[in-house]
Chain length 262, copies 2
């Protein structure tokens, strides 16, 4: 099943029906970026096509099965429509969102880029993440082709670098085109940065995640860098960049997560 | 009038009344961080005391006068309460928010900090921003004591560094204590980073702003750094850090703004 099929939404009486499909999960719970993509498709259908900035707060885990996504337009402006979204599971809300959507055209192009895509060995020389029966890497990796920078992947062999950073390549296994919604999935698809610290390895529950979409990528591999600078007061941020094969930044993300308790 | 008075909220029939006070503005429109502080006070009163992460989308300018702030709890969890907020002006909504609030205690302390406070000359050797009758620096600077790094302030004399960065000191003029809500104001109080680029100097309208509060600062000056890495497709992000006098990061912010059109 393609990503497009796995995140399809159907209008129903002013809201949208959708399905959390199995396989896009980590230990049975749908990946957070997958859930944002699902919600953002509904929000896009209810407003304007192109997500510009979407913020999601995580309320409860998303299990496979039907969900209902309601949307409420807050403002329709000249350039953007701002709206809320709620992903409701069979029993309780899963995700609450606020975002703005516009047109796909990026009229002004690139004015300034004061950063570089992460330097990495080619995908074939990186560490391919494949789902393991032990639960890690998670089932989600069966839906993606993820190649981690070998230095960062050394954490899996008990040699963390000490620097909370995760760099790697990503694409869909069958070269399915990457749209803005897939970028939202990719921004949350890599192993947590803190695997490379001395913190206990454990679930890093996301509290809030904001993704800015800056462009639609060229076909091909995407380069990603995720990093954490501040682990304080029981929380940490994870900042992400996604660059396309032409060297253009296409997404910028930040999430706030709880420090694992071991 | 103190910041606490200027951002006071009064419960009224399940919502809150508040007032946008004059003087906290840029060209007649209330500063965006001031508006977030006002809304966050109401959201805090409706949930838990300490803002952890608050996202605001800007809908229309806030002019001095009464506003009504409604809140709606989305989830009350063990650690955080997640809720929405809407700041409604006399005619139309001004701000729509989504955030989570918890307790003030930061039980886990600092685990890792992979960054340093910005190096700057002492406040007396920095460029003090005082409100000008020409409108820039704006009236807001009469409510704050802001000292910009001389290198970054050179932009005001027509010598932009070319690097979209703004560093400086900030505090209240009368040493009013800085709480979490004041940090939300401070995170949006400095001149835009792009003053140091070759872009036309103009209004940089914020689309969305997310502020994470990581701690309550020690008394004294706060060190701030704001930077922009990507100006693409008509938008730019501005990333902020606020550090207290003990060298601790107390707030992390990111806003998405529209590129000025000149």
């Amino acid at each position: 099943m393609s990503f497009a099929q796995a995140t399809a939404v159907t209008p129903d009486n002013g809201a949208f029906n959708a399905e959390i499909h199995p396989g896009w999960d980590i230990g049975g719970n749908a990946n957070g970026g997958y859930l944002i993509a699902l919600a953002a498709r509904a929000m896009s259908a209810a407003s304007r096509p192109h997500p510009v900035s979407v913020t999601a707060h995580y309320l409860s885990p998303g299990r496979p099965g039907p969900v209902n996504i309601s949307t409420q337009v807050v403002k329709t402006g000249r350039t953007f429509t701002t709206l809320r979204g709620t992903v409701m599971g069979p029993e309780k809300p899963i995700l609450e969102l606020l975002g703005c959507f516009g047109e796909v055209e990026n009229v002004d192009g690139t004015v300034l880029v004061d950063a570089e895509p992460p330097a990495m060995p080619p995908p074939d020389e990186c560490f391919k993440l494949e789902p393991s029966e032990r639960g890690f890497p998670p089932p989600l990796m069966g839906k993606l082709d993820v190649r981690m920078h070998p230095e960062d992947a050394a954490a899996f062999e008990g040699r963390p670098t000490g620097q909370p950073q995760t760099r790697g390549w990503i694409r869909f296994p069958d070269d399915e085109p990457v749209d803005a919604f897939a970028l939202m999935l990719f921004a949350d698809a890599f192993p947590p940065t803190i695997f490379n610290t001395e913190l206990p390895i454990g679930w890093v529950p996301t509290v809030e995640m904001t993704t800015q979409i800056r462009g639609i990528p060229e076909p091909g591999w995407l380069r990603c860098r995720f990093s954490t600078r501040f682990i304080t007061g029981g929380v940490l941020e994870e900042d992400g960049e996604i660059w396309d094969e032409s060297g253009r930044l296409v997404a910028l993300s930040r999430q706030l997560a709880l420090t694992p308790r071991g």
